[in-house]
């Protein structure tokens, strides 16, 4: 699939961040005035295990170019074991998406603790860069094939 390079094009990146670790880490990045690309938007969830794999599909459907799921490091989950389930679910999800043609770089999961502001910055910066190189995602995108969104009452 050839991608027309538009130098001004900015990817749309969605990051699901768990409230106790990664969201706090992202706040800390702010507190430390670290800089990272504007194209990353965070959705706050209580725990990475709250993230339903269908949310990922929805994001691609609606035109996201990359999706990130971030949570506490295994063993540090605020809810004791949530991220162990996250790990299993998304290892499979990532592979299934790849099997359907989505580059694994477009859907990643990472463990980022509340103190790892720099890791948050580095991760989103790197993901943003990687997606920029991949170009816009057209796979699984709704607008390209149909009019109107799903489920609008």
């Amino acid at each position: 699939m050839s991608v027309k390079r538009d130098e001004n094009w900015e990817p749309q990146i969605l990051a699901f961040c768990c409230n106790w670790c990664t969201y706090t880490g992202a706040d800390l990045a702010g507190l430390n005035r670290m800089k990272y690309p504007e194209n990353v938007r965070v959705v706050r969830v209580p725990c990475s295990s709250r993230v339903n794999p269908q949310f990922i599909l929805r994001a691609f459907q609606k035109g996201c170019d990359g999706v990130l799921v971030c949570g506490c490091h295994p063993g540090d989950c605020h809810y004791a074991t949530g991220n162990y389930f996250t790990r299993r679910r998304f290892m499979l999800m990532q592979r299934l998406l790849e099997y359907n043609g989505i580059d694994p770089k477009r859907f990643q999961a990472r463990w980022i603790s509340g103190s790892e502001a720099a890791k948050f910055r580095d991760t989103v910066t790197r993901v943003s860069q990687e997606i920029k190189e991949l170009g816009p995602n057209k796979k699984f995108q709704e607008e390209w094939y149909s009019e109107g969104g799903a489920g609008n009452e």
Binding site: M1, P53, Q54, L57, R58, Q61, P74, G75, T81, Y84, F85, R87, R88, R89, F90, M91, L92, M93, Q94, R95, L96, L97, E98, Y99, N100, G101, I102, D103, Q108, A109, R110, W111, K139, F140, Q141, E142, W144, Y145, S146, G149, A150, G151, N152, E153
Partner: protein
């Protein structure tokens, strides 16, 4: 074969006569010699309508879900795959073993391509066994097709599936026949939450296909009913088998619906699970 039919019919007749079961789900003849149809035998005198031949392809177990709270036991004639379906539905709390009377019948493969890779021809659970067990064989090529497909480039994969989903007519036949699809109300029917559009277009079908794969992939018993009933001939099992293959690779040997299968691969974890998200 004929003696097996006789044994089957007489067993069913007796079960109906003595009131052990309310009815028996099995296969009956149709106008065509190479077709059978699922039948529900309710009277002993109808037991002779049961057939057992190379064309008994329909899965019998899922019908029990339409009668979750039966007054009498439901008799089901089950092959290996049907017994795995029963096991899976019991693990999912959808059926109660005490509500079922399982008439096992070893199966040497039917007019269905999926039977060639079958690793469990003999019923794994039953109350009575008709005939004698057949030899089981391990299928070394269980994930061969998936492994081949994995070699394609991402764009090739995407194109392949996109074309497949262009064919899909969003009829939900694959869902309705699948023993792992046992929700009371499918997510796809819940338009208020808006998980899924009802439109029949590429994207809507893609999302349905992937979501379905993720919903049932960890519990797929590899019966192949989804592909058999698909009017458009989509290779649906290729998606769920990918899930199964990854589960095998990542979380240890796994085959679903066996008597000792782990019931919740995604509802459990191991501290030693591989970690790719560091």
């Amino acid at each position: 074969m004929s003696s097996i039919i006789e044994e089957l019919q007489s067993t069913v007749k007796k079960l109906l006569e003595d009131g052990t079961v309310g009815y028996v789900i099995g296969w009956g003849a149709t106008r065509f010699p190479d077709r059978t149809t699922p039948v529900f035998i309710t009277r002993p005198e109808d037991a002779h309508k049961l057939v057992w031949n190379h064309y008994c392809v329909n899965g019998t177990a899922k019908y029990a879900l339409d009668d979750r709270y039966p007054e009498k036991k439901i008799g089901i004639i089950i092959r290996g795959c049907d017994s795995r379906a029963v096991n899976r539905m019991i693990q999912d709390n959808q059926l109660k073993r005490e509500n079922l009377y399982l008439i096992g019948i070893p199966c040497d493969g039917k007019e269905n391509p999926v039977c060639e890779g079958c690793q469990h021809k003999n019923p794994l659970v039953y109350d009575v066994l008709i005939g004698t067990p057949v030899e089981e064989k391990i299928n070394p090529d269980r994930f061969k097709e998936v492994a081949e497909f994995e070699k394609l480039s991402q764009d090739e994969k995407y194109e392949y599936w996109a074309k497949q989903y262009d064919k899909c007519i969003h009829c939900y036949a694959c869902r309705n026949v699948c023993p792992a699809c046992n929700c009371k109300e499918c997510y796809a029917d819940q338009y208020r939450v808006g998980w899924q559009g009802k439109q029949n277009n590429r994207n809507s079908n893609q999302v349905y296909g992937l979501t379905r794969a993720f919903h049932v992939g960890d519990r797929c018993i590899e019966c192949g009913e989804c592909e058999r009933v698909c009017p458009m001939g989509l290779p649906i099992m290729r998606q769920t088998k990918k899930m199964l293959k990854d589960i095998n690779d990542l979380f240890g040997d796994y085959e679903c619906g066996l008597n000792d299968s782990r019931p919740h691969v995604l509802g459990e974890f191991d501290l030693q699970d591989r970690d790719e998200f560091m």
